[in-house]
Symmetry: D2
Subunit: 308 residues, 4 copies
């Protein structure tokens, strides 16, 4: 992956920034943008080699803007993934005191995760939504608010003081970020990979989803995420966003994908890349590449000689 | 449904307010609250008889706050549903001119749905996020912003002028609202009903989801929505939020629910209520109440006499 | 099982006779008949309390005459089963010598199982088919043939000499016999039981059989035998003769049977009785009687209160 | 199919002889043998180019001797099939009278199909089993019995008189015969073909059979026959003898066979050949050769470019 410039949802200090640092090799330039759409466009427009965006969080579920960018825009593929603990701090200027906080800035998603803390600790503070958590930190530094709820690590960046650390109502949250690039061959398989795709069903009923799942299960392909998404058409029409274990270079994945291509109205492949959490499930009998190769050789014999 | 006070996500003029008017019978009092959590709490605390909340939108998919309220809080059940077209207007004060708009307020979700319109029409206007679309209208009336993106119908309420009607980038959006009440027996079946539930799988793999879907399909129960949701535990653990055709009083639904109760780690029933879109699919052979009754009678004969 | 008279496929000395002795309690009278049809009729006509007939053999598969008697005649149920080793002896009169055997009698089914032995040992002997293996022994005793192929143990009965013991080409064969009675409640469950039934599919395709198997698999019911049988209508129309683990008194069996009753064109229950080979497979989660009872109680709560 | 000598289960006048005449091209020599095993051996030993044997009958189901010959002997493949009405005549010498028949010869299988007729019409006649129905006709001609039950058409062959025509208790029976040859490439596909195979399951439970059926159903392959057979090992171990619509040259059949090769312990291919009854079912979406080709091309593009 010789990418040299990664776009992320900025400003500096955001969770996406931290994720980008995890994903970047030495020498990679990191560039913050104001919205997920702008981050994606930077890749499409060759202003960046890849984009770092959140795909799902353990609290909120998948990130609609990212899933939509992967399906409704021009093609992009996932090149890598990383997992980031989501830790929020309450920060103020160096001389701030928590009992003197009257105004507070943060992003609505962050607010949702620290609501109970704020109700208990700062019930009187006026809350103003801002476009990103890190922007809240910038605004505090600029004197516009007394405090902000920001990603851990953000305080140093803006010369702020941590008034309270790790204030999430439900600690232990994790967000999964992915690195998106223009279409290109997948990185080499590692033996512990993940493949992401979106499948559009021909019919919106339980039977069609059963059929889709059967194509994976019958080839021993384990799913690690499946989510229905509206197809932007109308309520009641869904596609399924899916992560599965394995790599496009694995025979079982290739076989499952071609089966989906036949039975679905459309399939969008979104990349194969090394998996960064957990490890490959044990394969059932018949699911290894060698099993597929042996079956193909057997079939060729039948066609040529009428016997194995 | 003798409920007399409905809580909704206010302020007046919000989409939820319009939905509440659709769901209310004459004489029902409608009371706006500041957050979904407060709306829900009003029901739990007996401050309201029922709550009107959005469940899913044709653009954004399901509403996480509502799904979470249904599963992580004290039990509530869905008593009714309604579908509301989502139409956004750009509004200003009576003397406003669209080419003079410099400041703009709206809720981030609304902003996401009119982004292209705003970029094309008001590229220079400064956008400030507010807590609800209707709150944006209030703020314009109070002179704090030049314009706001609000639900259609909101302008009259606040004495504002419609500068542009139906400005969504993707017209035709619909949101489904539901009426939530404290647990109570379901309304009588109508022959065209829907049942909502959440199923928690014992294992997080394709086979477990296959099993769940099979319990519906084998009884001729059609699904109209299925969504995976994180279980708030950790990434990779999902439950499934499901709508299906039929009523708890129907034998096929009762039979499917008891099967799920046996094979899932948990099942949360969320109500049976009249369906307001589309109509009941034709039932396959063997799925009517009479078929279940005949099978039970047959079994009783076998147990008593050893023959049918 | 207070049956006092068992009919079997005679004459004395047949395999069915040996099986009848295994199945009979002290004091039971055993009566040989000339054909499976006569054995069955004896039960229908109250001439016997039960009939001992072969159901399947490890060499020939199931016994069509028995399966047909169970489905096309008036109802009977299986009350018990037993397994009998199939050992053939070559027998002659007390003064016989194997190298002097010129004529030989046996039943065609027995001949099929000792063909290679006869070709190797008595290539010149003239073989005459007779109606049963034991009848061959009787005919040898009467001086009509030099030798016969008979069930082990038959020689003593007819005052004959064993010229060669256990001459089957494939040793180790076993036949499963069942005890058939007029319809009556099943014997008490023992915890290791078997249930036999025949299911007629509405449609003759793979999907219908998949559906049938799914009804068993989804309730954790293990099948120990499944065989397609022509329905006596025309080629291409099949029913399925099935043995499964469990007893009609078990909730999972009752639930599976009622499901089959709904989705099949017809189901014929043929009895629940103690299993005499192997032991009950471990039940999957959710398949015990207690799980079914808990699910029913849960459902009753939902219907009455709207919550669990 | 340039075969010039067909072996059949004789003697002349048998049903197999009639089937052989249907399957033979002009100039083909037909040779009768004394047992199915000898017929099969004639092909293995190059004494015949192909063998005509019965595979299944609408009354008795499949023919165990044939199914066994196909699986436990050296490989053979099915080259063609034909369907023959099974019509039995009661025959005697030219001067015979039906009310003077005292002795009767026939094969046990034929006797089973005319039992009720004989009980009603000739209750006093002594019945002697013979090795084949046509052999019974020969024996009558030789003066050893008064009458025989033989295939229709057999009387002329042996100079006999038809005493009663079409005497089967259940009229309309049909037997399916197949032409077996040494392994060779399948005849060209015709668009209405059948493929025969035997699948051995890794595990003897419902789940394994479900998996097997799923491999057919998921590719739109319709089954026209499925039968369990003991594996000659022990009771409770089964293989499945299967006929399906389609030809080895069809992509969906090739794909299903390779899948079975992976998930079964063994698969025995027994030939693809033109179907002589009924016609090809409509294929579901995604099951045509073109769909498989399009899916493969799509996959190749993904692997090379990362996008379709």
């Amino acid at each position: 992956m010789p990418a040299r410039r990664f776009a992320f949802l900025g400003p500096a200090g955001s969770f996406a920034h931290a994720a980008a640092r995890q994903l970047a090799e030495p020498g990679t330039e990191l560039a913050g943008y104001g919205s997920v759409a702008q981050v994606i466009d930077a890749v499409h427009d060759d202003a960046a080699d890849a984009a770092v965006v959140p795909l799902e969080s353990s609290v909120e579920g998948s990130v609609p803007a990212t899933l939509d960018a992967l399906t409704t825009e021009r093609p992009l593929v996932i090149l890598a993934e990383t997992f980031l603990p989501v830790v929020f701090d309450l920060v103020g200027r160096p001389d701030a005191r928590i009992d003197a906080v009257r105004s507070l800035a943060t992003h609505p998603h962050a607010e949702a995760q620290v609501r109970r803390y704020l109700l208990d600790t700062l019930p009187e503070a006026e809350l103003t939504p801002v476009g990103s958590t890190a922007a809240g930190g910038q605004a505090v530094a600029a004197g516009r608010f007394d405090a902000a709820v920001v990603p851990a690590g953000c305080a140093e960046l803006y010369g702020l003081q941590v008034l309270a650390h790790d204030i999430a109502d439900r600690p232990g949250a994790i967000t999964r970020f992915v690195l998106l690039g223009r279409p290109q061959p997948a990185p080499q398989p590692t033996g512990n990979d993940r493949t992401t795709l979106v499948a559009y069903l021909r019919q919106n009923h339980a039977g069609a989803l059963l059929q889709l799942l059967t194509e994976f299960a019958s080839r021993g392909v384990n799913l690690t995420r499946i989510e229905s998404r509206p197809t932007k058409g109308q309520l009641g029409e869904y596609c399924f966003s899916i992560d599965c274990e394995g790599h496009l270079a694995d025979a079982r994945i290739a076989d499952a994908l071609t089966a989906l291509h036949r039975v679905c109205s459309a399939v969008r492949y979104l990349g194969s890349y090394p998996r960064r959490d957990g490890s490959q499930s044990a394969l059932p009998l018949g699911a290894r590449d060698a099993d597929f190769a042996a079956a193909s050789a057997w079939l060729a014999g039948l066609r040529e000689h009428g016997t194995a």
